[in-house]
Symmetry: C2
Subunit: 209 residues, 2 copies
Amino acid sequence: MPDPTAYIRDGAEIYRQSFATIRREADLSAFSADEEGVAVRIIHACGMVEITEALAFTTGAVAAGRAALAAGKPILCDAKMVAYGVTRARLPAQNQVLCLLDDPQVPGLAAQAGTTRSAAAVDLWLPHLDGAVVAIGNAPTALFHLLDRIAAGAPRPAVILGMPVGFIGAAESKEALLASGLPALVVRGRRGGSAMAAAAVNALASTAE
Amino acid sequence: MPDPTAYIRDGAEIYRQSFATIRREADLSAFSADEEGVAVRIIHACGMVEITEALAFTTGAVAAGRAALAAGKPILCDAKMVAYGVTRARLPAQNQVLCLLDDPQVPGLAAQAGTTRSAAAVDLWLPHLDGAVVAIGNAPTALFHLLDRIAAGAPRPAVILGMPVGFIGAAESKEALLASGLPALVVRGRRGGSAMAAAAVNALASTAE
C-alpha cells in the first residue's frame, strides 16, 4: 500500500501540481485565454479533464462576469452548497453571496406557483438581479424559472453560470439558457453541480491559481 | 428551442423520474441491495451512471453507517459544502453535522504540523470520532491525516466515506483507505467531491427516494 506518511502536505504545492497536471492533460484549445482560466478551475473541481467537451461560453461571458464582480454586484446561488463553495477571500469587492432558499416566503411562493422551492426562491432574487452573477448548480427548475422571468421583463444579470446537474430537465434547461441569447457559461448535458458552479464563480472572481 | 414553460415543476415527480432513469440506465449488478441505494443517490448527485465503475464498498460498510446514524452518532465533514449538502430532515436522530474547518485553533495546528487546514481540522474530530460517520469530499490531506491518526491509536469511526476529488493525492488517499481495513465507501480515482459525499450520507440516513 502507499505510505500514508509520504503524501504532499503543502497546500500551495498541491494547487501548483494540480493545475500543472490539468494544463498538461486537458485539451484547452477551444477556449480563449480568459475562458481557459475558468475551464481549468472547473476541471479542478470535478477531477475530469474531459469535462471540457461539455463546456460552452457565450462570447464575452467571462469578461462580463469579471466586470460585474469588480463592480461589487452580488452572486445569486440556487443552493447553499454553491454559496459555501465560493471562496470569500477571492472576491474583488466583498460581494454579497446570496442563497434565498431558506427565506420564510419560499414555501408559500412555491405552493402558490406550483413549483419547487428552488424555483420559487428565484422570485426573491429580482431586486438583486440587475447586472448580478447568477450561479445555478443544482436545480433545473430554478434555471427554467429564471429564464421565464427574464423573458417576461425581469432585470438581466451580467452572466448566468448554468450548471444544474441531473437526469430530468438539467440538459434541457441549459440548452434553453444557451438559446436565450443571455450571457452564459454552461456545462452541457447531465453533468454539473454545486462544486463546478462555485469553481466558476471563484474563477471569475480572481485569475490567481 | 425547448419551450421553457413546459418543464416539470413537481419536485416529487422530478425525483421519481430521476431515480427511474438511473435504475434503467445504470449497471447496478455489482452491488448488494443496501449498497445499491447508496450507488443510486451518488449517481443522482453527479449525473453520471458510469460512476458505478469507480464505487467500492467494504463488506458491511452501509449497514455500519446506517446503524451509527440510527444510534445518534455525529457526521464529521472535511468541507462546509459537504455539511450543507446533508439533508437534515433525512437524519434519523437529529445527528450533529460537524465541519470544524473554521475553528480558531485550525490555522495554528496547520502551521505547527506543516499541513493543510483541512488535515489540521481532523485533529479536532478526535473527541467525536468513535463510531462516527466521516464524510470526506474535498481534501486528500484530510483523509491521509485521519488514516495516520487511526493507525496511531485514534478512535475508529463506524464508516469513512472517502470521496476527495482531484489530481494530486486524491486517488492515492482512497487506495490507502481501502488498504487500511477500515469500513469504507469510496469513489476511486480522481472523481468525487462534496456532492457525492453528501449524497452518500443522505443515502445512509434514510432509504427514502
